[in-house]
């Protein structure tokens, strides 16, 4: 079954939500004129960091919103930086009578954005290894933050970012945008309300990257700050493949800059599974890599026995398949959802049942929450807990052995060498 969202962001500022222990959602439709959104003095001023492939759509989106004013862009690649600055200024110039606009600053260092008191919010679309450092700097300087998924490179980073958000009153949104999709929410509500009985098995389709590689040294291109690109990660000779933005590979395939597919797609699908199971403040307890003790598929287990298998072949043509004692829910992007039995999909949600947080626009939800100071649909704690699953699966995969995890204390159990992976040491002069 497919469904198209009928409410247009252009027509409504938000279909916002309140949450009480994440158990109830109330959809209010607010017209875009609220908060005096169009008045320049009331706009959310923004700095954008990481002007590559992933930022493209976000930047266009932000430039199209009258309640936002992009004041600065930041990238370590001078060409991308200049091109982003030009895009911003061109977009705003169209709205001026003179047809010119020169109000977007361009920086190599994100610190310049964090230092500016006139910037309210920071949008982060860098590779994963920079997420936490930039997030923390922005949060601590009083900015609200949108950070692409996965939220962090290490488990400790996630705890730090989440704690900092609580301490500074930050509105933080992680880019696991499947939460703002009707079908995924519906699937989670069906599971959460016990409509497929007791869930015991979940399949998640993440796919595979090609293996990482050793690469010969190439000259660093003029205008590219390679040292800053590497940031806190170990030094390797420059090669264009290492730093390439590519959804199918590039830097995403290297362990140094992320958790490969566990981080890339796990940050979406494991996130939905956490939501469906009501585990947003907790997580699984055991992670078994593929091949370990005969495991055919990478699997992680929750304390109540629910197991999540990665890339099990029979996902019924969907991205995630929840299997319970009384039925199944199968869900994918493009608003695709199926249930077994099919009637489950039509069953109404009663007032006393669990209504999950409702958002139909992930970026817009963040902007709404910046104004209302309510929790976003995927805040830092949620992002941290999901990223923890991504990282623990990756750690188990790399070490080639099972990892036991205490989600309350957030500790790896009975394996001192694995514990070292809670964080990664940072290359000088980068400090978290």
């Amino acid at each position: 079954m497919k469904k198209n969202n009928s409410i247009n962001r252009r027509d409504f500022l938000f279909k916002g939500a309140s949450t009480l222990a994440a158990a109830i959602a109330f959809p209010t439709i607010v017209p875009s004129s609220v908060f005096g959104a169009n008045a320049p003095g009331n706009r959310i001023t923004m700095g954008m960091v990481g002007m590559g492939l992933q930022m493209g759509g976000h930047l266009r989106g932000m430039l199209g919103r009258s309640e936002v004013q992009v004041l600065a862009v930041c990238d370590v690649d001078r060409n991308k930086l200049q091109s982003a600055k030009n895009s911003v200024e061109r977009a705003y110039a169209r709205a001026t009578t003179a047809g010119t606009y020169k109000g977007c600053d361009a920086y190599n260092e994100y610190e310049r954005i964090c230092e500016r008191p006139d910037i309210d919010a920071v949008f982060i679309c860098t590779p994963d290894h920079w997420h936490a450092m930039i997030s923390l700097a922005a949060v601590k300087s009083g900015k609200d933050v949108f950070c692409q998924k996965p939220m962090t490179l290490t488990i400790r980073e996630g705890r730090m970012v989440s704690d900092a958000c609580k301490r500074y009153g930050t509105i933080y949104q992680v880019g696991s945008q499947q939460r703002s999709n009707w079908a995924f929410r519906k699937a989670c509500e069906i599971v959460r309300n016990g409509k497929i009985g007791k869930v015991h098995t979940i399949y998640a389709r993440l796919g595979q990257f090609a293996p990482p590689m050793t690469l010969p040294e190439e000259p660093v291109p003029d205008g590219f700050d390679y040292d800053r690109w590497l940031g806190p990660t170990p030094w390797y000779p420059y090669n264009s493949e290492r730093v390439k933005a590519d959804f199918g590979g590039g830097w995403r395939r290297f362990w140094e800059y992320g958790s490969r597919k566990n981080g890339d797609w796990g940050a979406h699908h494991f996130d939905i599974i956490q939501w469906a199971l009501g585990m947003d403040d907790s997580g699984p307890v055991k992670f078994v890599p593929k091949g370990c003790n005969g495991a055919e598929y990478q699997t992680h287990y929750y304390a109540n026995g629910i197991k999540v298998l990665r890339d099990y072949p029979d996902t019924g043509g969907h991205m995630i398949r929840f299997i319970g004692t009384d039925g199944e829910v199968l869900v994918s992007r493009d608003n695709r959802i199926d249930t077994k039995p099919a009637e489950l999909l039509q069953a109404p949600l009663l007032p006393d049942e669990i209504h999950l947080y409702e958002s139909i626009d992930h970026d817009g939800n963040w902007l709404d929450c910046i104004r209302t100071r309510k929790k976003t649909i995927c805040d830092a704690e949620i992002g941290h807990r999901t990223a923890t699953i991504c990282h623990l699966n990756a750690i188990a995969e790399r070490l080639g052995r099972q990892i036991e995890w205490d989600p309350t204390e957030e500790k790896i159990l009975n394996d001192p060498a694995a514990e070292r992976w809670m964080d990664r040491p940072r290359r000088a002069p980068y400090v978290l």
Binding site: S18, G57, T372, A417
Partner: protein
């Protein structure tokens, strides 16, 4: 494709690793590596034998890791890493020690590429303990600055206390700012209390980055002396590292609060709050609003009374930015005092803050503030009004429900919609009682609203009431009751609703009843039984009712209903025939296709009925995926051949694009030659080839190739090329890359 690449890659790895050691020795090395990586069972080895085994493996891997072909180095590097990881598993200390010692010995070799040396040190970062410290200490003076930093990081992760001493000694002699930062950071990460003094000294380093790193390291160590050193810095808000020191203290106090050491944490927050309120030495320096807000947020958790006082002060006096951040404090306060205080202030606050405070009241369920919230329902600002409605929904008591109900009945626009949406999901027995009572008595508008809510909330015990309301002497009430009954469509009795519907005379109520009845029919399990009830009812019904009921049968489907509708379509009575054909044209089951095709092919069929029947059959061909493809393909060609007008012929061509059958492809190739349908047929053919990519790749490419060769238009050429290259394209739905 990716799977193929992986297989090729794995083959290359095996070849690269084991080909040089061909024959018996190759097999032995392979077996040894399998044992050392845990892939096969290893014999019992004592420390000496383990050292020999690791040495043998490294001797074998090292030349491969240093190979001229850089790309080939990856597999042996990873093998070495897997050996190290396996040796580091719990309960294998002898193996870990032996592996670490062999790596250390290997590092002493002069000849190897820098990157290989880095890789070896990286393994020590993961598995090294006391045995590694001396060698890593030596590497802190290496010429290669990257190697020095690899060694520093390995020491940072080393669990032996001697690593701290080494790092401290190195810090004492460090000159380069970057190197100092690295060492300070490592000591901080190790929480080395013995390093506090030199690190505190570095707070005054002339290089601000070094001083900042020192503040961060002291934050990580977080002992009494570290706190004191940071507190000294924040006494001067103009200090270059004021922000870093203050941020460090917020982290330390936050950690203390989590450990329930609230008294000590409160002291830090108080100091931060006071200092953040001081004017900075430089008048251009921005007010540290972030620190001030964080201090209040922390204070309210540790000392709610004082925190609430400061929150009040900020809400009354501070700038919008500080207020906005500080609101968070009320959400974290362990008691409700801060929320109540904000509730009392609501009327005085600017709209921007009112919205935020209303959110806090709702989320925290502060019912004592309900009157202040209700006051704001009358405010001018739409955002505030909506936030008040939202808060009332969350508060969910009878007073809140009454207010919302009033807006739902008498309000307008988005406020009315929000109130209705709120009441539809509001929890609590009070809400249900209020809605039921209003559904039974009062003015019509209130009753209609309440009846609508009974349906939306799926109040199961209200079905009986709704059935009575549907028969009342008021068409608005009847219509509302029928509409509400739609929410119970799967549990209602068809005969009961049918009786009610037949008795309903008002057009408005009847329309509403038909919608509900159709919803019920679409969910009926026994279609023939349902059809029997309806058909029997039509026998004694007046002609208007008869037509009305016939028209509902397409919502039901099934063979019995189809028979009745097909007969109606042949009726000599114009009205009956008309409703029959119209109903058939929306039929849900493929069984109707044959009848519709007959209607299409008859010359005497009126133009309207011909158009309806053609559309109906094409719709069935497109959607009936359970019907064999060949049948649908033939019917589609038949529909094309029987079409009287070009409009319907074009619709048939467009439907052909969805049917990956040879006869359809042949038909399209024939039509491409017809000037009249050339473009439509070419487009359909190329779309068909894209569909066929998943079923018959070769035929798909051949079809696309034929179309490409005809060079009909740029757009069609581009699509054809996509299919020829094997990529294909989506022609029914767009897909945004941003969705990743």
């Amino acid at each position: 494709m990716k799977l193929k690449l992986t297989i090729i890659y794995l083959w290359i790895i095996s070849f690269t690793l084991f080909a040089p050691a061909a024959g018996v020795s190759g097999h032995q090395t392979s077996e040894l590596i399998n044992q050392l990586t845990g892939k096969s069972e290893a014999p019992q080895r004592d420390a000496t034998q383990l050292t020999q085994a690791y040495q043998k493996a490294i001797d074998y891997l090292l030349p491969l890791m240093s190979a001229e072909d850089v790309g080939s180095r990856y597999a042996p590097q990873i093998t070495l890493q897997q050996i190290a990881f396996h040796a580091s598993r719990p309960g294998a200390e002898t193996e870990r020690m032996a592996m670490a010692m062999v790596i250390l010995k290997t590092l002493e070799q002069a000849e190897m590429p820098d990157t290989v040396r880095h890789w070896l040190v990286l393994q020590l970062e993961r598995i090294g303990q006391s045995e590694s410290v001396p060698a890593l200490t030596k590497l802190l003076s290496a010429e290669d600055k990257h190697l020095r930093d690899f060694a520093r990081r390995a020491l940072e992760k080393n669990t032996d206390p001697s690593a701290t001493q080494t790092l401290l000694k190195e810090l004492a002699n460090a000159k380069e700012p970057e190197w100092k930062i690295g060492l300070i950071n490592s000591l901080g990460q190790r929480k080395a209390e013995s390093a506090v003094q030199p690190i505190a000294k570095a707070l005054n380093d002339s290089d601000i980055k070094v001083a900042s790193a020192a503040a961060t390291a002291l934050t990580n160590i977080a002992d009494k002396d570290s706190v004191q050193a940071l507190l000294t810095i924040i006494e001067n808000p103009a200090a270059p590292i004021y922000q870093k020191a203050a941020q460090g203290l917020i982290d330390i106090a936050g950690q203390m609060a989590e450990e329930k050491n609230t008294a000590a944490a409160a002291k830090i927050y108080e100091a931060l709050y006071e200092n953040a309120a001081k004017p900075a030495g430089d008048s251009d320096s921005p007010n540290p609003f972030n620190i001030r807000a964080a201090a209040v947020i922390g204070l309210i958790v540790c000392d709610p009374e004082k925190g609430t006082r400061e929150l009040l002060a900020i809400m009354q006096n501070a700038d919008q930015k500080t207020r906005t951040l500080t609101i968070r404090a009320a959400r974290l306060s362990p008691n409700m005092e801060a929320v109540r205080t904000l509730g009392k202030m609501l009327a005085e606050l600017p709209p921007y803050s009112q919205v935020q405070v209303l959110g806090v009241i709702g989320d925290r369920g502060d019912r004592s503030s309900i009157n202040y919230v209700k006051e704001l329902l009358r405010t001018e600002d739409p955002a505030v009004r909506l936030a008040a409605i939202d808060a009332l929904t969350m508060l969910a008591d009878s007073a809140a429900a009454e207010s919302l109900f009033d807006i739902a009945v008498n309000g307008f626009g988005y406020a009315k919609r929000a109130a209705l949406a709120g009441l539809a999901i509001m929890k609590g027995p009070d809400v249900e009682v209020l809605i039921k009572a209003n559904s039974l008595s009062g003015d019509v508008q209130s009753r209609v609203t309440a009846i609508d809510l009974l349906g939306q909330r799926h109040v199961s015990d209200s079905v009986k009431s709704l059935l009575i309301l549907a028969a009342e002497q008021n068409e608005d009430i009847n219509a509302a009751a029928f509409a509400a009954l739609e929410n119970f469509a799967d549990s209602l009795d068809i005969a009961t609703i049918l009786d009610l519907l037949v008795r309903t005379k008002s057009g408005k109520a009847r329309y509403s009843g038909i919608v509900t009845f159709r919803a019920m029919l679409s969910k009926a399990r026994d279609k023939d039984a349902a059809a029997k009830i309806i058909i029997e009812k039509t026998e004694n019904a007046d002609s208007q009712t008869k037509l009305l009921l016939l028209g509902t049968l397409d919502a039901l489907g099934g063979s019995r209903a189809l028979k009745a509708v097909a007969e109606a379509a042949k009726s000599s009575d114009e009205n009956t025939c008309n409703i029959g054909i119209r109903t058939l044209s929306n039929w849900p089951d493929y069984e109707a296709a044959k009848i519709l095709l007959e209607i299409v092919s008859k010359p005497e069929t009126s133009l309207t009925h011909y158009v309806l029947a053609t559309r109906g059959v094409l719709q069935l061909i497109q959607t009936s995926e359970t019907t064999p493809l060949e049948v649908r393909a033939s019917d589609c060609i038949n529909a094309f051949d029987n079409a009287r007008r070009d409009e319907e012929k074009r619709q048939a061509i467009s439907t052909m694009a969805l049917l990956p059958a040879k006869k359809v492809a042949d038909k399209l190739m024939e039509l491409v030659k017809d000037e009249k349908f050339k473009e439509e047929a070419a487009l359909a053919a190329v779309q068909l080839s894209a569909v066929m990519l998943t079923t018959d790749r070769q035929a798909a490419r051949e079809l696309a190739q034929k179309i490409r060769e005809m060079n009909i238009s740029d757009d069609i050429n581009r699509r054809a090329e996509s299919v020829i290259s094997g990529r294909g394209f989506r022609f029914r739905e767009g897909r945004s890359r941003r969705n990743r």
